[in-house]
């Protein structure tokens, strides 16, 4: 190996890995064609790479790796819109989801009507307008002791003040 050969050592190594840049390749190949020693070195290096790869093939990773990763991934928190979106997407993909959703909507409508009828059947609680409230009227029109008496007659506790009315 002469002095000029030393300048090709890195390039020969790169060529053995098919990693030589296009610009340098012609000069290196020309040198290999005229220098048997460098050519032997190149062949040795390429054989070594092939030998290493053949002797130690890639292994298949265990499927357990993914299972272990998956078990440690954080559970995603979806917003309301994302949940609605995924629900709609599921409905589009799976007809069963549509049927279930339709049944739930129908059930909600029917139960809503039923509840409405129950509420209609019950008498509405009597609501006084402020001015018509007999206790307040009595409090405003009459003197303090008689208003107490009125309230007492009506079965109300006369000592409970109505806030803001005096």
């Amino acid at each position: 190996m002469n002095h000029s050969c030393r300048g090709f050592l890195l390039a020969i190594s790169a060529l053995a890995d098919d990693n030589l840049d296009a610009a340098s390749a012609p000069a290196v190949r020309a040198h290999l064609a005229e220098c048997p020693e460098c050519n032997r070195l190149f062949e040795e290096q390429r054989e070594l790479s092939d030998w290493l790869r053949a002797g130690s093939p890639e292994l298949e990773p265990s499927p357990e790796i993914w299972m272990r990763i998956e078990s440690r991934l954080p559970v995603p928190r979806l917003s309301l819109w994302e949940r609605l979106g995924s629900g709609l997407a599921a409905a589009v993909r799976f007809p069963e989801v549509r049927y279930v959703a339709a049944s739930l909507v129908l059930l909600a409508i029917l139960s809503g009507g039923f509840m409405g009828r129950i509420q209609e059947a019950q008498p509405a609680p009597r609501v006084y307008a402020k001015a018509e409230n007999p206790f307040l009227v009595a409090l405003k029109q009459e003197t303090f002791p008689s208003s107490l008496a009125v309230r007492a007659e009506m079965g109300e506790n006369p000592f409970v003040m109505i806030r803001g009315e005096r």
């Binding site: 890195l10 030998w51 002797g55 130690s56 292994l59 790796i65 995603p76």
Partner: protein, 196 residues
């Protein structure tokens, strides 16, 4: 990189994974797990450690993927994470200073590469012996040489890509691979000499 996917397709998958798509994260795992696992395995030498570190690598990818700005750099970024995980592990277990030159120590469970295949005893023995020689040759390299050599020879990566992963200049990578090759060649020659 797996040849069946283009850089643009990969960038699109990465983008969706960054947006939180679990399916796309799984797709990234499927695309790269074999290469990353084998890369780690050759650096660390133990099947069990390689599985653990592959797991930690992808968990870190999941945690950090939103920070990756250039999606086309995903592959190099992934390898860098894997490499850092290996280095951390080596530092923790102080294996860096305990590189065995005779190959007599350390776990060699992964040498049974063909455990699913039925080989005759002689072939199994030869296969294991060959693997052991290769492992010892790799162990004889310093981590600096070992990762570039594994990436170049076993993963068949371009030197430019290796330089991006290890963060060293192209010339430095070329030189390190050349030197690593000389060390490995000596090791293999010694083994061949002993055989004769």
């Amino acid at each position: 990189m797996p040849s069946e996917i283009s850089p643009d397709e990969l960038a699109a998958i990465v983008k969706r994974a960054q947006e939180g798509s679990a399916a796309d994260f799984h797709a990234l795992y499927e695309l790269f797990v074999k290469r990353i696992y084998n890369f780690i395995l050759r650096l660390i030498g133990s099947k069990e450690d390689a599985e653990d570190l592959t797991q930690e690598t992808f968990l870190k990818v999941h945690r950090e993927i939103k920070k990756l700005r250039d999606r086309k750099q995903f592959r190099y970024w992934l390898y860098r994470i894997a490499r850092n995980e290996v280095y951390q592990k080596l530092r923790r277990t102080k294996k860096v200073s305990e590189i065995s030159l005779d190959g007599e120590e350390g776990p060699l469970d992964w040498l049974l590469a063909d455990e699913g295949m039925e080989l005759d005893p002689e072939r199994t023995f030869l296969s294991q012996e060959l693997n052991q020689v290769i492992l010892c040759a790799l162990r004889s390299l310093t981590p600096k040489y070992r990762d570039v050599f594994v990436l170049a020879v076993f993963q068949k990566m371009k030197y430019v890509e290796i330089s991006r992963i290890v963060g060293r200049s192209l010339l430095s990578v070329k030189t390190d691979i050349y030197r690593a090759r000389l060390v490995v060649k000596d090791h293999v020659k010694t083994y061949m000499g002993r055989k004769r």
